[in-house]
Homo-oligomer: 131 residues x 2
C-alpha cells in the first residue's frame, strides 16, 4: 500500500501526535487509548496491525512486539476534526492492557471512590519476559 | 458530591488535560474524543453530564449547552496509567457530532481513500442557533 493522499490532512499536534482509541471489533469494548505519529499511522495502514508512538519510551511501539499479543486492525476511522483515530481491532491474547486486564479501563468510579472491574485475562509476569 | 480523594492521582498533562473517550452506554459506539481539565472532570462527576475543556475556545464546554443535546453519564472509568477517562453516556438527541452525525468517527479508511459512513441524524443548521 502506498502512503495515502489524505495522510497530510491529519492534524498531528505540536508533538506530531494524534490520539488513537482502540476498540474491540467484536463487542465494542474500548480497549485502550494510545498515540500515533505519522510513521505509526502509516505503518498501521500498511500492516493492518496496531502501531503507536510510545511517549514514555520515545519510540515506535508495535503493540504485541514483546508479548505476541498483536492487534489485527479491522477498520480505521478519522474523527470530524481529523485529530483522532479510531481503530477497530481483534486483540490477540484477549487482553490489551499490560496488567493483563482485557481493557486498560478497568478502574471505575464508584460513589466517591474507585473500584476494579473484572479480573486479569493473563498473568503479566508470564507474558512479558524479564529483561 | 465532594471532590473525590483520587482526583489528585489523575495524571493531567503539561496543559492540565486528560483525554476523554465518550462511548454510547447502550450499543458501545464510540461517539467522540474530547479533553478534560480538573474542573471539567469534577463537574462531570458532580453533575453526571459530559463536561469538557474546549481547546479551540479555551473554556469549559458543557456538551449540549447550545444544542440541548447533553450527555447523561452512566459510568466513568480511568485507564491503567491514569491519563485517560472513558465515559459511558446516553446521548440526548441521538448525535454527538456537531455535523449531525451520531459519532464524530464517521470517516472510514477505504482502500487508499476515505469514505463517509452513515448519514447525519440531525441538521446542524437547525440545532445550532446562528449568532
Amino acid at each position: 500500500m502506498n502512503i495515502p493522499f489524505w495522510i497530510d490532512t491529519v492534524r498531528f499536534d505540536e508533538k506530531g501526535l494524534v490520539t488513537a482509541v482502540v476498540q474491540d471489533a467484536g463487542d465494542g469494548t474500548v480497549l485502550m487509548v494510545a498515540h500515533m505519529n505519522r510513521e505509526a499511522l502509516v505503518e498501521t495502514l500498511q500492516t493492518r496491525r496496531g502501531v503507536y508512538w510510545s511517549r514514555s519510551r520515545n519510540r515506535l511501539w508495535r503493540k504485541g512486539e514483546e508479548s505476541g499479543n498483536v492487534q489485527e486492525v479491522v477498520d480505521i476511522f478519522l474523527d470530524c476534526d481529523l485529530d483522532s483515530v479510531l481503530l477497530k481491532v481483534r486483540q490477540v491474547g484477549g487482553a490489551a492492557c499490560h496488567t493483563g486486564h482485557r481493557s486498560c479501563f478497568f478502574t471505575a468510579v464508584a460513589g466517591e471512590g474507585l473500584e476494579v472491574r473484572g479480573k486479569p485475562v493473563f498473568d503479566p509476569a508470564k507474558v512479558y519476559k524479564k529483561k
